[in-house]
């Protein structure tokens, strides 16, 4: 393992420190809790607050997505570990503008418990209304019939985008949560890993993989996938990933989708665009229309190699949320 870090035990603190100093007009740390970050811009009274969060090591996820049009605040966990309720609660208190706060996070045991505890505390101690929407877009992580058991991976990006826009549109908390849940219901992801990441504190590879192998359906914390296979060409990989998605959700001729080809950390943009090329061909062949595409590192796993493909099936409302402008330190859309 080779990293440009100092003390492995302090990577999250130092990253956050660097981050807030790099973008002072975008983001600030709350004095109450250094893992609680909120937008530095003024947010409208009466707007639903959007709170995101999860473990560190997924940058730009999640702290990179605080800003206009997406989240108002983020709770930052240790590497690959849910934040504790404390920073979640502090962010909640700060970003509540009287309309309640929507918690958006991935469906992981740890996040469910910590965000759940924070929501209880927000209700009981602070009298703030909290709504929750969980991302469960990873097709590989449970059978179709048990979608609610699936984990959230890169598709979380679309859910933030949708809910962030909805809040900006002036929707109330219930409506924001409805949009977030709809976005999640319409979103599917499928990933492949070709090289592991290394936790700074252990220095060990997150998974073992042969020189000519790929791990299909792996989680974005290096959790084993559903199948180890021979490393194949970009076209075959794209076919496999898109195939699994289209087997899972009905998207047919004339439908509109948003596409995300997401790098896991060390995959060059070159490779991602080569994957995108095939994804586009497959969709085009089926008469599916691409409304907007995102290609790059959106939710990573440190320096893991590989990528995921995400499709979100769009109705008019979701199209509006996709087109809504965003201004975050790590993601800007005009």
């Amino acid at each position: 393992m080779k990293k440009l870090i100092n003390d492995p035990r302090r990577v999250v603190e130092e990253m956050v420190e660097g981050y807030v100093h790099a973008h002072p007009d975008y983001i600030k740390q709350l004095p109450e809790n250094e893992r609680a970050l909120v937008t530095a811009r003024d947010t409208k009274e009466g707007k639903v607050g959007i709170l995101i969060g999860g473990g560190s090591g997924h940058e730009p996820g999640f702290l990179g997505y605080v800003g206009e049009g997406m989240a108002d605040g983020v709770a930052v966990g240790n590497i690959f570990a849910s934040p504790s309720p404390d920073p979640i609660l502090e962010v909640t208190k700060t970003i509540d503008k009287g309309a309640g706060v929507a918690y958006l996070y991935g469906n992981y045991a740890g996040d469910v418990m910590n965000f759940g505890m924070a929501a209880e505390m927000a209700d009981l101690e602070e009298d703030i209304e909290v709504g929750m929407a969980l991302a469960s877009d990873d097709v590989a992580s449970a059978p179709k019939e048990e979608k609610e058991k699936r984990r959230g991976i890169a598709g979380e990006f679309f859910i933030y985008k949708a809910a962030g826009a909805a809040a900006d549109f002036g929707y109330n908390l219930e409506e924001v949560i409805r949009v977030a849940n709809k976005a999640n219901a319409q979103t599917r992801s499928m990933g492949v890993g070709i090289s592991p990441c290394y936790l700074p504190q252990t220095g060990e590879p997150s998974f073992e993989i042969g020189d000519d192998e790929m791990e299909i359906g792996l989680g974005h914390h290096g959790e084993p996938g559903i199948e180890k296979g021979q490393l194949e060409s970009a076209d075959s990989v794209a076919e496999r990933l898109v195939g699994d998605i289209l087997n899972d959700i009905e998207i047919t001729e004339g439908d509109d989708v948003a596409v995300l080809v997401n790098g896991l950390g060390s995959t060059p943009r070159m490779d991602l665009y080569i994957i995108y090329r095939k994804v586009e061909q497959i969709l085009k062949d089926r008469g599916i229309q691409i409304y907007r595409s995102y290609v790059g590192d959106y939710i990573t796993s440190l320096e893991m190699g590989g990528c995921s493909v995400t499709l979100m099936k769009l109705d008019e409302e979701l199209k509006q949320t996709i087109s809504h402008p965003v201004d975050c330190p790590m993601f800007v859309q005009k």
Partner: protein
């Protein structure tokens, strides 16, 4: 057998030391079926506990308050899955130590039963789902039953820890149904659950600590 607030703090320090030693092993277990961080998380949490024991809790003598503070500290430091789980255990256990400088054997039985049941309730897991509940549930059942039957603390605890160990080992052969590893299906078979392992370590550490304690005293 009695446990003073001073002993209780020392026990938590023993756990902190142990987790430093076991962290690589726990990470290795978690790499097989999870995200490889269980040892790191336990280490971060227990080091934070270690610090607060020497600071805010230095002069605290209320066993209940100590256990609550340890739980909250652990949770704040780690979040993760095990933060809420162990924190809930420690906070539920705290009730039997409330306003006590010394806990007697019955208090201790109640403490550990509440610890185990609290975790189960928080995580909503059942035995057989390949989690720490596979360690904790048989432990709590045996401890409660044996102590009621025999009123012998050490014997009961020993039995309970033995059943905890069986439970922990049983996680090797089952398919995970909860937590990260639940996505693995058959591929989770053969790997022992990291949380079941750390839970066993804590229980067995307490057994040794208490036995030592009583030999020193007698």
């Amino acid at each position: 057998m009695e446990l003073s607030s001073y002993d209780l703090k020392n026990f938590f320090k023993t756990v902190a030391d142990m987790m430093e030693e076991e962290k690589d092993y726990l990470c290795e277990l978690d790499r097989k079926i999870g995200d490889g961080d269980h040892g790191v998380t336990m280490s971060i949490g227990w080091q934070a506990v270690n610090e607060i024991l020497d600071a805010d809790l230095k002069d605290e003598e209320d066993c209940g308050k100590i256990s609550v503070a340890v739980g909250k500290t652990f949770l704040s430091a780690v979040g993760s899955s095990v933060g809420p789980l162990y924190a809930t255990g420690l906070m539920k256990g705290a009730k039997s130590g409330k306003k006590k400088n010394v806990m007697n054997e019955l208090d201790l039985v109640e403490y550990w039963v509440a610890f185990a049941r609290g975790i189960k309730e928080r995580g909503q897991a059942e035995v057989g789902e390949k989690t720490m509940v596979d360690t904790l549930e048989p432990f709590a059942n045996t401890l409660e039953a044996k102590y009621e039957e025999t009123q012998k603390f050490f014997e009961s605890f020993e039995h309970a820890v033995r059943d905890a160990e069986k439970g922990m080992k049983s996680t090797k052969d089952i398919i995970s149904k909860k937590g990260r590893s639940s996505r693995l299906g058959d591929r989770s078979i053969g790997a022992q659950d990291p949380g079941a392992t750390s839970a066993f370590m804590i229980l067995s550490a307490f057994q040794k600590f208490a036995e030592n304690r009583s030999t020193q005293v007698s």
